[in-house]
């Protein structure tokens, strides 16, 4: 998926690009509204992440123009204030969702996914490994042509494995991707989710291997 990030703080912008790229998205970063217009004029984006306070104007004006011109690209507003304190809510101006700074990347990811899913139910963003294919938007895994619905954590775990087949992921790395820091879980909890995902993968030629002492990896039988 191709994202456009409109954010004037260079460090924050770099981190968001970094993190979204990790999820396999292509992200262009615009520093202000005029740069954003330039990007939009040359490329089609699947999603726009929009800051409100920008050096050359108010993101809400951009949003109003965007909707007035009937451009359909969904917009998630990244705002520093909560909705209740704004006299005109960004949702009323046509934003698809908003997220408050500072945000949890997993939450941003979840909101992006929800907006994209809502926006275009037919969009496909699939990753194929062996005879298993993972639809990131719909959140479904199909194994040898049979669809298997995944819950969110199973999906996120599958996302990590499908992004880099053959690569070994440590338990602690997977923990960080699956659990928020304030969830009191032991590393064994990962085993539970790996177990569930293995069950979903049954019936195909792809499986999750345990690499003793190192972690797990996704392999396809040849």
């Amino acid at each position: 998926m191709r994202f456009l990030l409109v954010e004037d703080n260079p460090e924050l912008s770099a981190s968001v690009v970094d993190r979204l790229s990790l999820d396999g998205h292509a992200v262009d970063a615009a520093r202000d509204l005029s740069a954003a217009e330039d990007y939009l004029a040359s490329t089609d984006y699947d999603l726009i992440l929009l800051d409100i306070m920008l050096p050359d104007g108010d993101g809400r004006d951009f949003l109003t123009r965007h909707r007035r011109d009937n451009r359909r690209t969904p917009v998630i507003v990244v705002t520093a204030r909560s909705e209740i304190s704004d006299r005109v809510g960004v949702l009323d101006l046509g934003a698809d969702d908003y997220i408050t700074k500072p945000f949890d990347f997993s939450e941003l990811q979840a909101r992006c996914r929800a907006v994209l899913r809502r926006h275009d139910g037919n969009a496909r963003n699939e990753k194929q490994v062996g005879d298993a294919s993972l639809d990131l938007l719909a959140g479904t895994l199909s194994v040898a042509g049979i669809p298997k619905p995944l819950r969110n954590r199973e999906l996120r775990l599958a996302e990590v494995f499908f992004a880099a087949p053959e690569r070994i992921f440590s338990k602690s790395h997977l923990m960080d991707r699956l659990f928020s820091y304030d969830e009191d879980v032991s590393e064994n909890a990962i085993e539970v989710y790996v177990g569930r995902l293995r069950k979903k993968l049954e019936g195909g030629n792809v499986q999750i291997e345990t690499v003793r002492g190192l972690g797990y990896r996704l392999v396809a039988e040849v």
Partner: protein, 414 residues
Amino acid sequence: MQDNILAASTTSIAEAVRAERNTLGLELPYAALSMLGAISDDRVFYRVAQNGLTLTGYDDLPIDVSDEAEILFKTEAFRSAVIRSATLTRKISVDGRLNDVTVTVAQTREGLGEISARISLIALLVGLGFFVLAVSLSAFATGRTLRPLDVLANAVSRRGPSDLRPVKAEAPTEIVPLVTALNRFIERLETSLTRSEDFIAEAAHRVRTPLATVRAQAEIALRRVERPENKTALRQMIRAVDESSRSAGQLLDHAMVTFRADHMEFDTVDLSALVADTVERLAPLGDLKDISLRLGTMPSNAMLKCDPILIQNALRNIIDNAIKYSPGDSDIDIALTADDAHYTITVRDEGIGFSDMKTSELARRFSRGPNVGEIVGSGLGLTICKEVAIAHGGTLEMKDNPGRGGCVSLVLPH
């Protein structure tokens, strides 16, 4: 007036008295008496006496001896009427002897009283008439003049708290300065409101953007470091960032809720749609922990007159709490029910529940349960919910489910 005529006729009668050889002669000047008849229909009496003996006129008219050339006026009762009399005494010498000649002319006062009574009555009526006319005219005039003021007052008092457009009521020239002053005041108020709103937004932006950077960098670093103590340090850092941003956000929300509760702006909204919408917005948050937000059956046409932003904020706080305090892989059930008098929004989770802490204590500002553990919170969420409930005349109820988890109900009268 009466006295002058009485005096004139007394004097002219007295002058008509003359000494003739050894007696007094009097040719009564009738003109003197007819003068009296001219002013009213009152009866006229006269008496001329020599040394107290009546020469001519009414014997019983009381006489007084006055000083020479001095007219004595008197008001007294005579023949069952009130009379005004004038008496003049002259000394006339007859045969070398000095005689006191007393002339008294009197007239009843009835006609005069009647006249003056009539005059007073007319004067009274005229005065009263003028008074009534003046009062009604001025009432009419003030009413007309002040009607624009009423219109103006109505226009201003009917406004909602956020309506800061200038007043455009038509006003007569006299009130134009007032309207201008009012509009200038509204303008200043709007400027200062906008300025403080901009300030809050700017402050929030300046504080939260670097916090977001810190959090993002920490999250990325967390993925790269391997040593457990480094990971712990980074987790604590993220936790601190979340805690501070959450408290700041909740404090601001709390202030906004208090402000809005004071200036309630009511809208009639479909509560079912509002609940469904709020749940949909929070679903991604639940997803992160594999928590399903399950929406129960909703009554159709659940219209409620309320401040939708407040209700939404309260509901978001309740569901947010439920997600925070629930374990992964659990369900949260949200339902809206209606009875004759109330709508009840119920949020039931499988989390840690409320332990033994009382509802009233949990809803107090900055108070948190003893069983929160490591979970980030400001202790303001339920306070906000309770204030929203109270502002709508409703209540917030918290109890533990039989078995597991907690149940929060927002009860709103309709």
